[in-house]
Amino acid sequence: MDQTDLNNSLIKDLGLEGLPREVQDEVVARLGENILRRITVSIVEKISPEARQEFDSISQAGDSERMKTFLNGQIPDFDNFVKGEVSKSVQEFKELAAAI
């Protein structure tokens, strides 16, 4: 088993098997960017206007742990919320890919 198998489960899950390696990489990388941006929008828009300054302040400080605590306070059941948003995006991608 070599490191090229890093994304094997992901490739299979996304239905990218059989495509050239470069294509798989490009699709996964671009998909990752888009999902990250979508999660960002989903999370950030739930931050109350009063808390936006604090969000920026923590962001600039680069403190991931403090950010996690902050987001947990802003969004109920934060972990499941993120997981749900990712799932929705992945599902949408699969449907669009299948429709072509």
Partner: protein, 464 residues
């Protein structure tokens, strides 16, 4: 597949556009950071992000949450991605997860993954010496050697697993953790310094190293921003690490203070019509006429450089060329514009950038998803497209003699084909090669590759 992806990307963009500027700005910033990490890190981040939500997830979503949270902290995100790339341990865990045979194995591998994530995030969760040592011993670049982690749950005693997530075991382990943490510290968006290599130009270094510049739409705006940065550096070049004291003349081994240079983007205010703005805002706000004038002046300087290949284009020379060639420089109404344009063009580095841009622009037009200079958040970089990557190192003969059975439909039957097997990709490159041959009169050499011939032909065209 790419059509589906492109539709997905369009939907992302549409989603963002609906949001208020504060939300949009943060989404774009994170997208920008992401795009500027290496492909390997992108793939690892994607595996955690997407894999965390898939049915095959090992972490129960922990990976997605960690990536998403770290993304909001900029440098924290960079450190996390750097750490993920350094620690092949994670890759090992993911790999093993993908081949786990039963629920027990999945659970153990999931615990391992969370433990490793914990280390990388500095959260205090610690993985024991034996397991971590095994994982880290597999770190490094791509290898075909088998990973040494146990294949089955039975090989990982429960008590060892418990111990492994709670107690550091030995010195070797501590050192390994230390090395991972050191690697994490070393990751940042902008490297603090950059050592100049042979014949490197300040212009190109700024363009390559600063994602904010790359994000600007088109050559004109990018030129304006780079020129304004160089104007600031010109005031005291040595303080930025340019030993010669001349921004046109970098010396091999100069160590540029990239943090200080990058701070120019954040701190420097320039006055436009009496209104103070920063460099990036100024570039973004350029009028279409200003952009086209800058690009036209780029062309003029390129022509001069082609006519004088052995001469260095200095600030003074560029000033002279633009004054001689621009009657409008005598008119008061355009004097402010021309001053800006001169700033943009007065370095020899602009020419070097322009020459390479001809090649990039053509490849982008043929194989990029957004056309000339249009790639950015949603596009495909033509040079990184699978079609170009497949075609560029093939001989001209192989590509030009390629025939497709059964007509012109290379992608019929729902099967997507790429590069040499794609009718549309081969058709495009054939057309382009014929155009180059016609314009230059050049004939491909017997073993010349597509990439080599295109570069040779462009050089001839640019020299005419």
């Amino acid at each position: 597949m790419f059509s589906g992806l492109e539709n997905f990307e369009k939907n992302t963009e549409a989603l963002e556009k609906e949001k208020d500027p504060w939300v949009l700005e943060r989404a774009l910033k994170i997208g920008s950071w992401y795009r500027n990490v290496s492909l390997k890190k992108k793939l690892i981040a994607s595996a955690f992000l997407i894999g965390g939500a898939s049915a095959l997830a090992a972490s129960g979503g922990a990976g997605a949450v960690m990536i998403a949270t770290a993304a909001f902290t900029g440098s924290g995100f960079q450190r996390l991605l750097g750490g993920l790339a350094v620690a092949a341990t994670v890759e090992g865990v993911l790999t093993k997860r993908s081949i786990a045979h039963n629920e027990g194995e999945e659970k153990i591998l999931g615990i391992r993954m969370n433990a490793v994530l914990g280390i990388l995030a500095g959260s205090g969760v610690i993985l024991g010496g034996k397991l971590l040592g095994e994982f880290l011993s597999n770190s490094g670049e791509r290898t075909t050697e088998a990973l040494t982690t146990p294949e089955t749950a039975q090989e990982i005693p429960a008590e060892h697993l418990k111990e492994s997530v709670e107690t550091p075991m030995d010195t070797q382990y501590t050192e390994k953790v230390g090395s991972v943490r050191e690697a994490l510290k070393g990751e940042s968006l902008i490297k603090p310094s950059y050592t100049v290599d042979d014949d490197e130009k300040l212009w190109n270094i700024l363009k390559e190293k600063f994602p904010e510049i790359q994000k600007l739409d088109g050559e004109g705006k990018q030129s304006n921003a780079i020129a304004n940065i160089i104007e600031q550096i010109r005031k005291d070049p040595t303080s930025y690490g340019i030993a010669s004291g001349n921004v046109d003349n970098l010396t091999t081994g100069d160590v540029l203070n990239m943090e200080k240079i990058h701070a120019i983007l954040e701190n420097t205010k320039i006055s436009v019509g009496g209104v103070e703005t920063n460099i990036l805002e100024r570039a973004e706000g350029l009028a279409a006429t200003e952009v086209s004038t800058i690009e036209a002046n780029n062309e003029k300087l390129l022509e001069w450089q082609m006519e004088h290949p052995d001469e260095q284009l200095t600030t003074e020379t560029a000033d002279k060329i633009l004054n001689e060639h621009s009657p409008a420089s005598d008119t008061e109404s355009l004097s402010e514009n021309l001053n800006n344009i001169r700033k943009d063009m007065e370095t020899a580095e602009a020419i070097s950038m322009k020459t390479e841009q001809i090649f990039r622009a053509n490849i982008q037009t043929m194989f990029g998803s957004k056309g000339l200079f249009g790639y950015g958040f949603l596009g495909t970089n033509g040079e990184r497209s699978v079609d170009w990557l497949d075609l560029k190192d093939r001989t001209v003969t192989e590509v030009m003699t390629k025939k497709f059975e059964g007509g012109v439909l290379g992608e019929e039957g729902g099967v997507i084909k790429f590069g040499i097997d794609s009718f549309s990709a081969v058709d495009k490159i054939k057309w382009y090669m014929n155009m180059l041959t016609e314009r230059t009169g050049l004939a491909p050499k017997e073993t010349e590759t597509i990439d080599q011939f295109i570069h040779r032909a462009i050089q001839v065209i640019a020299s005419k």
